[in-house]
């Protein structure tokens, strides 16, 4: 029986991993191309959630599910064009300060517009309910999140590794000067990747709004966990983020099973352990400019 409960926590951990993956994927993407550590990522996640709350009563949850990430991505285009673009080649501390400030401006704007109290938002009726497999229980909504997360990963992978667009992006990560020498302007590619990454944060916001509190500080709440996942996976590694998200989900679940007070601390211990044994993270590649 004990073993069965453990297995249930492991499987649930994988499901929770999908939740971390959605938030961390875009963060990793933006970092790997431009070297920008986007501290405002959580704020874009919050914008996604607030858009969902605002739009869903008018165009339905399905409509908000499509429209919010697109709108957040559009904001991403503006932010990249106006701000990020100036910081790709500069000291990382500058982009850290910039995105930290941006996160505070966005959080405060949400507070001024919508108030500090959490806004009510629920799972749409069609997606409520649980799936029972033997003794195991899975909320239908969480299974849907898992599906969407996997689809987002597959689509991102296809764009980065299976298109000519992706080839330029990957070349840009390796050697931006050479890409420039070949007569290709990287700027629009950078914009597109930032929009994709920030759009993914918006997607995470829409999907998590029904199962967590929608309040202005919700972005700050999840940002640290997202960073931990990216660091464990290895900065800039695509598959590393996926492995790390699953690992963090499972380790957290098991820790809560055996010793709940350490539930959230477990991911930081895991990160410390990984960094000690393998400083570049699970699947991180050596990135020249950081070594």
């Amino acid at each position: 029986m004990q073993l069965l409960f453990l297995l249930e926590q492991v499987l649930n951990g994988l499901l929770v991993g999908a939740y971390y993956l959605l938030i961390a994927l875009g963060l990793s993407l933006i970092f790997s191309l431009g070297g920008i550590v986007n501290l405002a990522h959580g704020a874009f996640y919050a914008i996604g959630a607030y858009l969902a709350v605002t739009l869903a009563p008018r165009i339905g949850f399905a409509g908000a599910f499509v429209a919010s990430p697109l709108l957040v991505a559009a904001i991403g285009v503006i932010v990249e064009r106006l701000l990020f673009q100036r910081f790709y080649r500069s000291d990382p501390i500058l982009s850290l300060l910039l995105t930290f400030g941006l996160a505070m401006v966005i959080e405060q704007s949400l507070r001024m517009t919508f108030g500090a109290a959490p806004l009510p938002f629920s799972i749409p009726r069609e997606l409520r309910g649980q799936v029972l497999l033997g003794d195991f229980i899975y909320p239908r909504y969480r299974l849907m999140i898992l599906g969407v997360a996997l689809a987002a990963v597959a689509a991102t992978w296809a764009v980065v590794y299976r298109t000519s667009f992706g080839r330029v992006v990957r070349a840009g990560v390796q050697n931006p000067e050479m890409v420039g020498a070949l007569g290709i302007s990287l700027a629009p590619y950078m914009t597109a990747i930032a929009a994709l990454g920030i759009g993914l944060a918006g997607l995470a916001g829409v999907l998590l709004a029904p199962i967590s509190g929608v309040h202005p500080a919700m972005g700050a709440e999840i940002l640290t966990a997202a960073f931990v996942v990216v660091v464990i996976g290895g900065l800039g590694s695509f598959w590393g983020v996926i492995a790390a998200a699953a690992l963090v989900g499972v380790v957290r679940g098991l820790t809560i099973y055996f010793f709940p007070p350490a539930g959230e601390a477990s991911m930081y211990l895991l990160m410390a352990l990984v960094l000690l044994l393998r400083p570049r993270g699970l699947l991180g590649e050596r990135i020249q400019r950081f070594e």
Binding site: F5, E8, Q9, N12, G13, L15, V16, Y19, R111, G115, A116, A117, P118, L119, P120, F121, S122, I123, R125, R128, G129, Q130, I137, P139, Y141, R142, P210, I211, S212, G213, V214, H215, P216, A217, E221, I222, T224, R252, G253, I256, Y257, P260, P261, A262, G263, E264, A265
Partner: protein, 416 residues
């Protein structure tokens, strides 16, 4: 509301310098040297996980000032609020000191965090300035940390437990039942759980699970699986702030059927959980459905001003300002010493409840009736505010109000 018609640039600059020196964020909302107004300092956390309550607190106190000033003010003078974000215990105490020393406020109202309230209480005692705590629940503030200048309109943890406990007893949810609790892993949660466990055990219930939840947890699914495996009769929350919202939402998501209840609670977190998710029986110091004329007037005025009904936190700050204004008028003085003596002598106040409240001299706790609410069946909820129905009043009409108050166990020794 107070406005400033000709801001004194020098005062503003000094305010900015002072704020920077104290490592605080933001400037006082109003700072102007003038003696024809009575200044009252208000401190609450505006950001962080208590921010939503802080916002309601400011709305409540501003409305009270508006009403007092509209009806002629206090002793012929207008009340001017100085609103501050208390941020954390260090900043909160520093700002309390600055409000008293530099802004010369007559007294202080506010706070929600028990840790910050402790710091402000110490400043109040040292400077002999009255501080009315409107949101901090820790019993220790009324026990070992009590002092003659710190008053509590907010209920202590033990009052919340006793209030909801009466209903849990009559719903036969305690005696012989298996309980499973989730407790926020910091001082407030520990204090609340200690009192709750004592109450449940004394009434014949037992805990088969007691989990501590880190305050940064947003996903509760591993806990929900453990609860499902343990099959308790009742699930109890000693969680705090936004945690309760997340917990209620995910409890509904996992479709668990055990009745839930909790001991610390604010209406904002219930409203934030949403109509389809809210369930359980919960204690409240006041709620917007309390059925008496003065309460209804407050709900109408608040809703008219802010476009939404008041939360229980707004009730505390609104009433504190009102009772201070009334006391100043009766005393014909704004002296803090005299105010403290007046309040400690048991002056009675209309606090928008069926019965009047008063501060008892033993620990300066406001003795008052309290309420419990139960989630409405989802089909009966009319809108996003209409999600609970009142279960009634504790103690029942004619009962001794003091049965709710923390026990006079001698831990509070008022320093002279």
């Amino acid at each position: 509301m107070t406005t400033f018609d000709r801001p004194d640039r020098r005062a503003l600059l000094k305010g900015a310098a002072g704020a920077a020196a104290l490592a605080g964020i933001g400037m006082p909302a109003i700072s102007r040297a003038q003696s024809d107004v009575i200044r009252i300092g208000h401190l609450v956390p505006i950001t962080g996980f208590l921010g939503p309550l802080g916002e309601y607190a400011q709305m409540g106190v501003k409305l009270a000032v508006e009403e007092v000033n509209a009806s002629g003010g206090v002793l012929g003078r207008r009340i001017e609020l100085v609103l501050e974000d208390s941020v954390n215990p260090q900043t909160g105490s520093a700002k309390a000191e600055r409000l008293i020393e530099r802004d010369k406020v007559a007294m202080l109202i506010g706070e929600i965090s028990s840790a910050t309230a402790l710091g402000i209480g110490q400043v109040a005692q040292r400077t002999k300035t009255v501080f009315i705590n409107t949101g901090a629940n820790s019993d220790a503030l009324r026990g070992q940390n009590c002092n003659p200048f710190m008053f509590h309109i907010e209920a202590a943890n033990s009052m919340m437990v006793t209030a909801v406990g009466q209903y849990l007893k009559s719903e036969k949810m305690i005696s012989g039942k298996k309980w499973y609790s989730l407790t926020a892993d910091y001082a407030f949660g520990h204090d609340l759980f200690r009192v709750a466990k004592k109450f449940v055990s004394e009434n014949g219930g037992n805990f088969i699970g007691e989990e501590l939840v880190p305050t940064d947890a947003t996903d509760f699914s591993p806990y929900l699986l453990k609860i499902r495996q343990a099959r308790p009769d009742v699930v109890a929350s000693n969680l705090a702030g936004n945690q309760i919202t997340n917990f209620i939402k995910q409890y509904a998501e996992y479709g668990l059927q055990m009745p839930i209840t909790g001991f610390g609670f604010d209406t904002a977190v219930a409203w934030g959980a949403g109509q389809d998710n809210f369930s359980g029986i919960w204690p409240l110091i006041w709620h917007h459905l309390v059925d008496n004329p003065s309460s209804k007037r407050f709900v109408d005025a608040f809703t008219k001003t802010y476009g939404k009904p008041p939360e229980n936190q707004a009730w505390g700050d609104y009433n504190s300002l009102k009772l201070v204004a009334q006391s100043f008028n009766e005393l014909k003085s704004t002296d803090s010493q005299k105010l403290a003596e007046h309040l400690r002598k048991g002056a009675k106040f209309d606090i928008l409840k069926g019965r009047e409240g008063y501060f008892r001299a033993y620990d300066n706790q406001m003795i008052q009736e309290m309420y419990a609410v139960r989630a409405k069946p989802a089909a009966k909820m009319k809108d996003k505010w209409d999600i609970y129905e009142p279960l009634g009043t504790v103690p029942e009409a004619g009962g001794d109000l003091e049965v709710l108050a923390p026990p006079k166990d001698g831990t509070c020794k008022m320093p002279a």
